[in-house]
Symmetry: C2
Subunit: 295 residues, 2 copies
């Protein structure tokens, strides 16, 4: 069945209220569209946690920097609706920019601390844009579960904190990263890659997997775990933006000589050509992106 | 009957949900306590708009500057609860600071533009603190009407905009300023005034009333309306912080030679001794604070 479609905030809010009044729980999956198998995993993850799955599709201008790819970001609402139908999504919320940001919109939500490092360092204003638009979506949706991918780990942590700090009635949950068969994390931006670059970027999951295996063998020195990741990416022709080991909750970077205790985030961002890709594993928690044949 | 008391956000949220599930509407009156006749007017105003009136009492640390009177701000929870009982308030929410700001709270809400002038200029961070704590209260309360005094006109506008921009299910309404018989706007800070200063500060409503009458007689030049207000306050021994005519919605100041069209905000802040008082009228909309005996 075709999912119902809300184009305005008012109609989306009313639809959410109606569902709750019927005693049903909502799981919201906020997306920027250009849906792929990773989003379908979020939708299945959401389905297990609620009676109704609502997907929002909105390319949020305030989270793109002035030199970033807002205009070029892939948009395919027809394809997205078809995928949502196949995935049995109950409702799609696809508002216009004007609908989410009125002409005299003035309010921004900022999560300090968590947004200073990692992607926040290279993308000033990005997480303020994310926190603001997600606060709006939560304001409209009301009590629900909201599902985000762990591929965007820092985003997930920022949104968890924002929802909790603003006391919004939303349970934020993270869904494990979905990967191609060669380990590459699914991303709407993968479609930018040339065939040659697509082959190159497999170094990211390979290097993360090597770090996971080193951690499993007992290596605990942050620098010894992270340095080979940066080197491998550079050798493969990528331009690393950061390769950082950080506290998995507070996201503050750990110096190279830190001995990791139980768990730590290993997060990377790199450019290949004009495309920027990110990936991460939580050492001590996540499996290696690529299974070890010998394992 | 003694009003019910919630001390934690979780319990307050649950109480609000229960009332709504019974089909009753809630009006929320956020306060910093030290309740006076002005708050009782807000409570009566709220009563006309809902089935249940809930009052929050919370002296919000993030809206006080480092040199301001957070520690000294009057606190009288026993007296407040007695007044709430007399006013037939249904529930009081009186959380601790820790309850509203967890140890690792990181999120702030900022309303740009509206907060640059008037009180925002002299109190950096003040309205960010206000917008943040009110967003939290709205997040906890859920769908309701929220009542604020027009005495804090800029605050009212900031909160209206914040609620609308973040798409929170809250209707924000402003209640007319309540005044003493001599015209002084009620404020918890009036209790700081010495007898001598109390006599002096009547110049504020007198000067605002003179401006309203000049406007009613057809004077439209912003500078001609505002200058006598500043002069009268200075002559009376007050230290004006600002006397500003501003757009009543966007709050940007109008230059002295502006011809006011339909309406404009005339807002003042002044110090007398260590006490800072504010007041305002919307020219073309509000009556004079002091009735004209000849009128």
């Amino acid at each position: 069945m075709t999912p119902s479609l809300s184009r305005t905030g008012t109609k989306f809010r009313t639809a959410c209220e109606r569902v709750r009044n019927d005693g049903e729980r909502i799981a919201l999956v906020p997306t920027m569209g250009a849906l792929h198998e990773g989003h379908l995993a979020l939708i299945r993850f959401a389905r297990e946690r609620a009676d109704r799955v609502f997907v929002s599709i909105f390319v949020n201008p305030t989270q793109f920097g002035p030199t970033e790819d807002f205009e070029q970001y892939p948009r395919d609402i027809e394809g997205d609706l078809r995928l949502c139908q196949e995935a049995e999504v109950d409702r799609v919320f696809a508002p216009s920019v004007r609908e989410m940001y009125s002409d005299d919109d003035l309010t921004r939500v900022r999560v300090a601390g968590l947004t200073e490092h990692l992607c926040g360092a290279g993308r000033p204003g990005h997480f303020e844009g994310v926190a603001t638009v997600v606060a709006k979506l939560f304001g409209l949706a009301g009590p629900c579960t909201a599902v985000f991918g762990r591929k965007d780990y820092q985003q997930l942590k920022v949104i968890e904190r924002m929802g909790r700090d603003l006391m919004l009635p939303v349970e934020v949950v993270g869904c494990p990263t979905v990967r191609e068969s060669d380990g590459l994390a699914l991303s709407s931006r993968n479609r930018y890659l040339s065939d040659e670059d697509r082959e190159r970027v497999v170094v990211i999951p390979e290097a993360l997997s090597a770090a996971v295996r080193a951690f499993e063998r007992g290596e605990r020195r942050a620098g010894v775990l992270s340095t080979p990741v940066a080197e491998a990416m550079a050798v493969a022709g990528l331009t690393p933006e950061y390769v950082t080991i950080a506290d998995a909750d507070q996201l503050h970077p750990l110096s190279d000589d830190t001995q990791i205790e139980e768990r730590a985030l290993l997060a990377v961002a790199a450019r290949v050509g004009a495309t920027r890709l990110i990936d991460n594993v939580v050492l001590g928690e996540d499996p290696a992106p690529i299974e070890d044949d010998e394992g």
